[in-house]
Amino acid sequence: MTRVAASALEALGEVPDGATVMIGGFGPAGQPVELVEALLAHGATGLVVVSNNAGNGDDALARLVRDGRVRRIVCSFPRQVDSWHFDAAYRAGRIELELVPQGNLAERIRAAGAGIGAFFTPTGYGTPLAEGKETRVLDGVPMVLETPIRADVALVKAHRADAAGNLVYRRTARNFGPVMATAARRTVAQVREVVPAGALDPEAVVTPGIYVEAVVALDGGTAIAGVGA
């Protein structure tokens, strides 16, 4: 059963030091901004973060990195024009980076959620990112063995939730949310609106409520073109 929380901090719940935290979003789209702010306020440290990017400007993830609260980041694209805090921490050796091709990141997260122990993929074969990994030629194609990426908590942003925890997303803000929601012990979703159970089309649900431990409605702040009530 999904909790409907009254604030981002209440939705976040307890996050132990050293926890692995997945953070949805691709660039600004789908970033659970207020939940990461809540994580900043919560105080957990020694975190492992799994996220496509490593923070922009002074956003909450960037401040977590700046403040030395992220021990390690698993990420496909840390470099941004404004990833100052990550860049500084990385150059100073204050943060460990596991650089993962974006498709491997998505598929390894899915594998964790789907109970797959490991899988072979051609992506990365023969490149520095596959160094030291087991390889095998399958059907004539050289492949690399990749393993699941799990988390203690996943923080995602969706468009709407219902009281059963079902989520629908909006446009390209969907990105990592649905796979991360399956791969964490607890998934917390911030949404624009929580509607009653039965108010979402069951055919259009993207993340079934079984994957969602808590939802919180936040107005979000960002104006979205063409989004009505």
Partner: protein, 225 residues
């Protein structure tokens, strides 16, 4: 597939390169355009071509940039640039989006590159600079996932060195994955099987002779006219 032609005036502008890439994309194809230079190709697809654009952050049926008033921060391409939604579009999550790419469903992927080797090896994610902040994104998935991966780049670096090389010296993105390279001075086929002698093969030249191309690249090239 125009075959070797004679030099025709000057080297190509970026838009001319994009038009040249677009001319080779079959009607009805599903296409992914990498970030940077390749995104220009979208502007040169003829109306009615039925080409559908995939963006790996989770969309098929991507349209051009919106008017400033219609920018939606939740509707962006893989370069994080605002785009639009065409009729028949669909959205999907990252694992489904990369399954589409990695499963060989995208007909053509156009990527930028730092280096391409005559064997079709690609280097486009890292300059290898020791102090560089790394970032790979979807490059490695795109390189090996599409049915046909082509590269769009200038033939030479800013310093005048060749970007089409015998062996890539920069960190690799994928092995033997590129089949054609579109540049400002020539279109060349690369990769396994394109030439019995293992050379890159000149398909078309722009303002440069075959011998001049060989000289610029320091490579023997197939397709001499």
């Amino acid at each position: 597939m125009t075959g070797t032609t004679t030099p025709a005036g000057a080297t190509l502008t970026k838009d001319q390169m994009a038009a040249r890439v677009a001319a080779d994309i079959p009607a009805g194809a599903y296409v992914n355009l990498g970030i940077g230079l390749p995104t220009l190709v979208g502007d040169h697809l003829p109306p009615g071509s039925g080409v559908t654009l995939h963006t790996e952050n989770g969309m098929l049926g991507m349209g051009p940039r919106p008017a400033p008033d219609d920018v939606d921060p939740e509707l962006i391409n893989a370069g994080k640039v605002p785009v639009t939604e065409l009729p028949g579009a669909s959205y999907f999550h990252q694992a489904d989006s990369f399954a589409m790419m990695r499963g060989g469903h995208i007909d053509v992927c156009v990527l930028g590159a730092f280096q391409v080797s005559v064997r079709g090896d690609l280097a486009n994610w890292s300059t290898g600079a020791p102090d560089a902040i790394p970032a790979v994104g979807g490059a490695m998935d795109l390189a090996v996932g599409a049915r046909r991966t082509v590269v769009m780049m200038s033939l030479l670096t800013k310093e005048g060195g060749p970007k089409l090389v015998g062996d890539c010296t920069l960190p690799l993105t994928g092995l033997a994955c590129v089949s054609r390279v579109y540049t400002d001075r020539a279109v060349l086929d690369v990769g396994p099987g394109c030439d019995p002698d293992g050379r890159a093969v000149v398909v078309e030249r722009f303002g440069v002779s075959h011998a001049e191309l060989e000289e610029l690249l320091g490579l023997a090239l197939g397709g001499a006219s």
